[in-house]
Each structure stands twice: as C-alpha cells, then as structure tokens.
Symmetry: C2
Subunit: 165 residues, 2 copies
DNA sequence: CTGAACCTTTACGTAAACGGTAAGGTCTGG
DNA sequence: CCAGACCTTACCGTTTACGTAAAGGTTCAG
C-alpha cells in the first residue's frame, strides 16, 4: 500500500502474469475489478491492465479470504473497504511530501489492518465455538461407549433380554 | 446420532418449528434434503416431514459450517458424508441388540467426529497463517512510521528537499 | 363444517461468482 | 509484414443456494 516513492516502481505485470502469480484466473481478476475490489495500478497506452506489487499483495489477500477463510466477495469488499478510497489514499500518499500527512496516512493504514486482524480472529473464535460443541458431542458418544463396555463386562456373553448384573 | 432406544422419542417437529429452532428457512431445509444433507427422521401419515432431536443437531451443525466456517454445501456434504450412510447406521444401531456391533457403530461415530474436528482445526490454521501475514504487513507499516518519525525529529520544520540530517 | 394456518410437490426466478467465446486491437520474433 | 500470443470489451451460459408462487391436501379451533 505505502511504497516509498524513492524506490522506483520495479515492474508492472500484465493480467496473465498476475493470474499465474496469484493462482487466480484472468476472468476472476477482471471480475473483482468489476465489483470494485481492486483497480490495476495503471493501464498501458493500449489500455492493457498493469499491476504493481501492491496489487499482487491485495489479490493474494483476497484469494486467502475467499479460499482459506471462506468469506464472500461482498464481505471481502467490506473488509478491504472501498477500492476508491484505497486509490485516493495511495495517490495522496505518493503526491504528498508533507511528513505529517504521510504519517497520518500510514497510521490510518495500520488501523485498518488491525480491523482486518480482528475480523479474522472473530472468525477463528466462531469456528472454535463449533469445535467445542463438536467435542461435547464426542464426549457424549464416549460416555455411551463406556456404558456399553460396562454392560459387556458384566454380561460378556451375547446376552438377550437386559440383564444389568 | 445415537440415542438409546430406551429413551422414547420425546417429540417430532414439523418443518416450520425446525426452521424457527435452527434459524434456517423451510426452503433451505427442504433444499438440504434435496441435495442429500439430511432426511427427516419420519414422515407423518399425510407425508409431513417430521424431525427429531438428532436432525435438529445436524441442522444446527450444518448452519454453523455454512455461516460460521464458510463451507459450501458440497464441502459440508463431504464433511458429514453421505446421508444415506447416516440413515443406514442409525437404523442398524436401533435394530441391533448386539453390544459388540453397537460398540463398533458408536466407535465409528467418534472417528467421524474426530475427522470433523480436524477439518475445523485445519481451517483455523489457514486463517492463522493469514493473520501472521497480515501482521507482517502491519510491522512493515510500523517500520515505515518510525522512519517518518525519525525524519520528522531530525528536521522538525516542513522540510523541502530530502535532508537526512 | 369451514376457514385459517399449516403442509406437500412442482416449477420458475434470481443473485453471486464466475466460465467461455466472439469480435477486434496490440506486440513481438522471424 | 505477418503469424501467434497477447490484450480489450461485451455478452451469454452455468452452478450454487436459495426465494417465491402456484395448485392442492391436512389439521384444528370455533
């Protein structure tokens, strides 16, 4: 998001390279642009989409949220917030030589990242709650098993008609 | 899944009550049946779907997997495996008075639950990996911030033209 | 015994998240 | 200079996970 302007842009990738790099399809990448998840850093003279390292990172993050965390693209949009805002912020940062403003922009970025982390932690907690419930069911079955075993040791033969010792 | 036959079925619920109880819609519940996620424990004389406590539990679990964990219904189907198998197992359990067979069936149930827990843990690990990556990005921004602050203290005035001390 | 509130199946509609293809412009090696 | 491999927009098709409505049977309180 915030690359210092002293480090000149190393290289811009075209969509197919980005697809190979991120494991997404070109179609998905264009679709994500369509629904406002990200805009390529630039367009070539011939209107080719050109992506920078920030875009790559963002796309990998999107992919993780989709595949690993199981968020819908709508949720991802909320998590990453408005792409328009991102573009504005990025441009303001690159344009600004005012250290105070830069500091504020970077500081803001940290706040947003913290929100993302909190959201991910929330998801983990929900899944952990499910695990606890599942473990309760497991314990229940364990108890059941013990019960059966008790009955078996007291009446080891294939006992017909409930003999409780 | 394994309710002892001595405890008589307390009550069977119709689809709308189940919907209220689980927070699903009747449509979803019927749809889950359609794609083989669960079959109601019984049908009334008039072919009304009738659900027991096991079904409720399963539906709540499905809902958790869908909403909290973000699994697709296909993935949920795999996780819970074939509903046909579930029905078979349930019936074999209810029919069997052979303690050895019962024990085996219950024991099998525990194995399946353990697999479910492992899958959920896997999901948590993937999300934790994402958190770690996000924290790396956060650290990067933090560094950037410190850098700016260093520059600001060395040249407190709105310094034009990079003065590194 | 009737009407309101359930239920059934069947079927068509829809939003999300893409896949595929057409029609055309661009770029690069031989 | 041109073939092959890129890229563009545009549009239609598909799967998933339901929503919604139609046409009819069931249940129960009054």
């Amino acid at each position: 998001m915030f690359s210092t302007p002293t480090e000149a842009s190393p290289r811009l990738l075209r969509i197919q390279e980005v697809a190979a790099e991120t494991g997404l399809t070109t179609r998905s990448i264009r679709y994500y642009e369509e629904i406002g998840l990200l805009k390529p850093a630039a367009r070539s003279e011939a209107a080719y989409r050109l992506y920078d390292a920030d875009d790559l990172e963002r796309l990998r993050f999107i992919r993780g949220l989709r595949d690993d965390a199981g968020f819908s693209l709508a949720e991802i949009g909320q998590l990453l917030e408005d792409e328009a805002a991102r573009v504005r912020i990025r441009e303001r940062f690159r344009a600004s030589h005012d250290l105070a403003e830069r500091r504020a922009l970077v500081s803001d970025g940290i706040v947003r990242i913290d929100r993302q982390i909190a959201t991910l932690r929330g998801k983990i907690e929900r899944i952990e709650a499910m695990i606890r419930e599942t473990e309760t069911r497991r314990a229940h079955l364990q108890g059941h098993l013990a019960e059966i075993d008790a009955e078996r040791t007291s009446t080891p033969a294939p006992a017909r008609r409930g003999a409780r010792r």
